[in-house]
Structures are given as structure tokens and as C-alpha cells.
Amino acid sequence: MNDRRPAHRPSRRITEEAAGWYLDMRENPGARTRERFLAWLRRSPQHVAEYLAIAQLHGDMRAVAAMDGTPLDELRALAATEPNVVPLRRDQGTEPRDVSARRARRHHPGRWAAAASILLLGAMAWFLGRPSTDTPGVRYAAAPDGIRTVTLADDTRIQLSPGSIVDVRFDDRSRRIELVSGDASFDIGKDATRPMQVDAGGQRIEDIGTVFDVSRHSGDIEVSVISGRVAISNPAAPWLDRARLRLTGRGWPAERIAEIGGGETARVSTEGRLIGRGKADVATVATWLPAEIRFHDSRVADVARRFNAYTATPLSVDDPVLAEKRISGAFHARDPEAFVSYLGSLPQVRVLREPKRIRFTSARGNRRL
């Protein structure tokens, strides 16, 4: 009433309290909590305004989040890159802050939490201060009864056969993935500044922008390239490699074993000897991959990419409008042609068949609707 401060600069504290109360009210609060909430609302028009604003935001959040197509795996992988830190400030939302008797009582846990956070921050600073080449990786494992798909921050897509494990270590200079065991299909995201290395059983596979499968069951590994080209090498001892990487930014030069391209397969022993090399029949490679590609409300570009684990002529969606279009359906994974003709049937889409890939471009330039 007498206090008519402009409503456009609420303090962060009131906003956070409002958000906290809003969540509390969604959880079937008891009579006492409601009473405290009412007392909070009555503290100033600002409190009322912030609460209404959070209610409004809550409605928008649902709509906006629904449009976020980031898959769960990727959200998790991204979240895992952020260290767990105990916030210095305790939650402001769940209880009224100004009751001084309460504050006196709550002083101690607050202090302990702060002290613990400082210790933790100290530990982190120490940890981050160490040379970064040994950054602990993120481990992804597929359940024993299911295939797991992981999309990494650089847009690399890994599919793991049931029970398979990979460790992923990315830093600002390099991208390394180690196949610890099992089979994996890689569709490598492009990043010219950070080369991609896939390690399996002591061998190293290097490439830029290709799709290939790696199997590691005993000592030998088997690499099959679906599209693109990879180099397989036998790197120096890890400690040598790391030491050089730390000093010069480049790893120890590795001994090249073989270079294979699309439709080829190579088998390498633990000692880094090429045991066999031949044609990879795309139809029989990575038979563990799902036979069907199902998608619901997914971007055309993402769906097209999923086919690329199966075909020697990858699909590339060049038209940005088409790439963003959302579709639902199911196709036989080993029959990308069905999907190609489906896309080709869409208005304003042109299919260009090139020797190494199939491109989808816009026909808008010629015809105007």
C-alpha cells in the first residue's frame, strides 16, 4: 500500500523464494506449510507479483521444454561434465527467511554447509590444477538386455551392443573414446580442431567424420567401416603418449597398421598385427544393431543419421528447413532406400544421388509456392 516500489526489480532472493513456494504448493502441502506460505505472500506486493510471475513462467516452461529435442542420454552426458558442487547458499525457497528465532537456530547447519562447500571447492581447485590429460572419462555402458545410444556433445553418436562399455575423454585438444569391451558403432561428429581417436584393445582408430563399427571381445579387434575412411594404428605406451601430449600437445606418433575405407573390414591382434582384411558386407556387419528404426516426433536430420550406421552411401540432409522438420514412423533399418523415397516424396525436396552419398536439398529455388 504505502510501499510502492517499482515491480520490475525484484530481488533474486524473493524470486527464488517464490519458485520454492511454487514447487512446495505442488506437493500437497500440510496446513502449517500453507500458513507459512500465506505469511510469505503477505509480506509485500513484490512477493505476490513474483509468485504470479513464477506461476506464469511454470506454464511457459512446459511448452518450451517440450520443444527441446535433446535426448535424455545427451542431457545426462552434458550434466555429467559439470562437477557436483554444494551451493554456498542454502535453499531459499522452502522456508520463510526472516523469522529471527528460526534463523538463530539454523545458523549452525548453514555454517557447516558453507565450510564443507569451501573444502570441496578447495579440493576441486587442487584437482583442476593438475595436468588435465588424465581427466577421468565418462563411462557409458549398455544394459545386458538392451542397445544403448549415446550422443556426445560434439554430435558423435555411439551405439553400444548389449553389455558393451566405452569410456569417453574429451578435452579442449582431443577427443578420445575407449572401447572397453563389446561392440560399438560410431558415427563421428565433425570437429576439425580436435581429432577423434578410438582406442580398442591397444589399437587406435583415427578418423574425421566417418561411420564405423568396432568389436572387441577377446584380444583381437575387428573394425568395419560403413562410410568414410579410418586409420588403424598401434600407439606407443600410454605413459609415453601422455607425456608427449602434455609437453607438445600431440601424442606419440603411432605405428600405422592399416587404412581402410567404406565397405572394408580389418582384424588386428593384440600385438598390433593385421590378421585379416576384406570386404565388409554392410548387411552382415554389426548384426546386433536394431533391425528397425523407429522415431517419434524426431528431426529429419537425426533420423537420416540413424540410417548411416547401416549404409555405405550415407544420407545427408542439406536443406535446413527439411533437417528441422519433425516426423514419426518406423522403417527397416537395413533398407534406407525406403526412407530415401519417403523423403523424396515430400514436397519441395530434391534427392541427389552422388557416388559417396545421397543428398537431400531444397527444390524451393526453382518453384515458388
Binding site: 519458485a19 505472500l41 513464477i54 506461476a55 518450451v64
Partner: protein, 172 residues
């Protein structure tokens, strides 16, 4: 106005809370009008419970009732034509289906900005918000997915909402 909200109304109001708040803050009139309305809601809130704090059983539903009543009165005042006497349900029903083109554009713009703000949150905070609002996972489920405690999940939602709210305000 009674401080007692019938049970069914309470539920209706709480369900429609976000759209009511939206209407209240945006569509009723210009910003200064909204401020006046907030002020008025606040005054009524104070008046309601003088002497008798126990009389408001569901403060949130009550808050939204007060707001909805004000919207109704405000509409009557502006148009000098009585809104049909059906009462709140009708007003609230109308809130749920906004048709005003200006409000739509306004909302679209706000949502675009909100999407940009969410993208800029820390990866954990963003993951928590998306899992909560898009995938409708419980705190516990989110906690399991991200290997943090359910309590932390709630804190991240609070932080995220507050950051978005404050971020959106910079545009206003």
C-alpha cells in the same frame, strides 16, 4: 468475497494458475495496470485474514481467486458492460484459450527468449529442468538419472526458474 474456496474451484484455480497469472500480468492491460492489480491483490490478501489467519485454507487457490475476481471486475470497469454473471469459471475458461493475436505474439517471443535462457543454464540445471518439464520425471527419477540427490533436484529447479524469471525481466 468469501475466504473459503469450494474444493472444486480450488482445484480448477490451481490448474489454471499459470494461465491466470499470464492473463493477469499481460493481457489485462499495460504494465502499470498489472502493478496496480498486484497491489490490489495484495491489499485484499491482507484484509482477508486480519485477525483470523486460519480462515484461508488454501492460500494459493485463494490468491488465484482474488486475482480472477479482480480480472473480472477490471473487465467490467473497462467495458462498462457487465460480464455475464456465470462467475469465475467462465473467466478462467476464457483464460485457458487465449485468442488475442497480440498476446500470442507476446507469448511466442517470451517463449523464444525462455528457450535461449534455458540453453545458457549450467548443463545440470538445464538437464533437471528439461527432465522435469518435458519428460515429467519425478524428483526421484531425475535424481537417479543424474546421480544427484532428490533435494538437489529441487534446488536446481528453483535456481533454474529464478534465473529464467530474472533473465526474462531484463527484456521488459
Amino acid at each position: 468475497m468469501s475466504t473459503e474456496t469450494p474444493q472444486s474451484w480450488a482445484r480448477l484455480l490451481v490448474d489454471k494458475g499459470p494461465s491466470l497469472a499470464n492473463y493477469f500480468l499481460r493481457r489485462v492491460a499495460h504494465r502499470w495496470d498489472a502493478q496496480d492489480l498486484v497491489q490490489e491483490v495484495y491489499l485484499r490478501l491482507l484484509r482477508s485474514a486480519q485477525g483470523d489467519t486460519g480462515s484461508v485454507r488454501n492460500p494459493e487457490a485463494y490468491l488465484f481467486t482474488v486475482a480472477a475476481n479482480l480480472v473480472k471486475e477490471h473487465a467490467q470497469m473497462r467495458q462498462r458492460a457487465p460480464v455475464s454473471s456465470e462467475g469465475l469459471e467462465e473467466v478462467i475458461e476464457r483464460l485457458a484459450t487465449p485468442c488475442d493475436a497480440g498476446a500470442d505474439i507476446d507469448r511466442q517471443l517470451r517463449r523464444q527468449r525462455l528457450a535461449a535462457l534455458i540453453d545458457r543454464l549450467s548443463p545440470k540445471c538445464r538437464a533437471v529442468l528439461v527432465l522435469h518439464y518435458r519428460d515429467e520425471l519425478s524428483y526421484r527419477e531425475i535424481a537417479e538419472q543424474l546421480s544427484i540427490s532428490p533435494n538437489m533436484v529441487k534446488k536446481y529447479i528453483v535456481k533454474g526458474l529464478a534465473a529464467c524469471r530474472q533473465g526474462l525481466q531484463r527484456y521488459e
